[in-house]
Amino acid sequence: METLALYAVVAVALGFDFVNGFHDAANSIATVVSTGVLSPRWAVLWAATFNFIAFLVFGTTVAATIAKDVVDPAVLTIGVIFAGLMGAIIWNLITFWLGLPTSSSHALIGGMAGAAVAKTGFSSLDADGLRKIGAFIVIAPLFGLALAVVLMLLILWIFHKVKNVSRLNRTFRRTQLVSAAAYSLGHGANDAQKTMGIILALLIAQKELPATAGVPLWVVLAAHSAIALGTLTGGWRIVKTMGSKITRLAPVQGTAAETAAAAALFFTSAKGIPVSTTHTITGAIVGVGTTRRMSAVRWDVAGKVVWAWVLTIPLAGMTAAFVYEIVNVFS
C-alpha cells in the first residue's frame, strides 16, 4: 500500500511538472510567436526539445535545494508532499485559467511549506533556505531586467548606423531562435529540477534512498520528459499576456529579453538557486520595454502580474494546508 502511494505521488509530481511545462511554455515561446519568427506549433516543439536536453548541460543542485532547504526533511511524508503538490497544481490551474503568468516554482515552494506548517507548525520550515529563495524572488526579475536593458543598449549602440531596418530585423529573427533555445534550456534546467527535488525528498522520506543521496537518473529523465511533454501541449492564454500585453516586441527585443533571461537562469541553476523562470523573463521583457520609454510598458498589466506573484506563495500554501487536512481525515 505504501509503495503504491509512493508511486502515485511520484506520478502527481510528474503531473505537476507537466502542468509547469504547459503553464510556462508561454514564457519560452511567447516572444518567438508574437514576433512571427516561428508558428506556435514549431515554437512549442523547439522549446520542448531544449527543455528536455537541459539535463545534459546542468547538474542537480537546484533539486537538492528543493529537497533539503525548504522544509525540514524529517517532516516530509507522502501526505505532506501530496498536499504540497496539489496546492501548487490547483493554484497553477487557477492562474492559468485567469491568464496570469505566475510562478510554478513559488506555487510549489508555497505548497510544500503550507502542507508542512499544517502538519507540525512553522518550526518545520527551513528559515535559511526560505530566506535564500525569498531573496531571489526579488532579485531574479531585477537580474533579467538589468541584463535585458544592457543588452538592448549594446545592440542599439552596435547597430545604430544600420539604415536597412527590415534586413536587421530579419537577422534578429534568426538570432531569436538561438535565444529562445537558450531560454528553454534554462527553463528546463531550473524548473525540471524542482520536480526532481520533490521526488528526491519523497524517496528519502520513504527510506528508498539515503539522506545524502543524489538524484537518480530515472528521476532526471522522467522530470525532463514531463516538462517537455507539458511544453508540447502549450498554453496560449499566457502567451498573449507575455508576448503582447506587457509590451510589444520586435525580433531584436525578443532576442535581448530571452538572452538576458537565459543568462540569469544559467547563473542561478549553476548556483543551485530555484528561481521563477516566469519572473525572470517578465523582468527581461519589461527591461526591453523601458529602453523605448516608460509608457511602452503597460504598467497596469505588469502590476496585476506582480500582485499574482505576491499572492502565489501564501495562497498555494493555504490550498496545500487545506488539502493536507482533507488527506488527514481520510488517512
Partner: protein
Amino acid sequence: MDRRAIFFFGSAVVCVLMSLVVDADLEYVTYWLAAVYVVLGLLSTLDAVSRRSSWGRSGT
C-alpha cells in the same frame, strides 16, 4: 526627474537592500546589479536632460 531614472535608482536601492538578506557568497550579485542600475539611472537622466535641452533649442 525622469520616471525611467527614478525606476532604475529605485531598483538599485532594492538590490542593496537584498544584500542584507542573501547568503554572503551571493552578496556580490546584489552589489553588481545595484551598480548596473545606478549607471542605467545616470544614463537615463542624461538622456532626459539632453532631450529636454534639444527640444528647448528647437522650440526657440
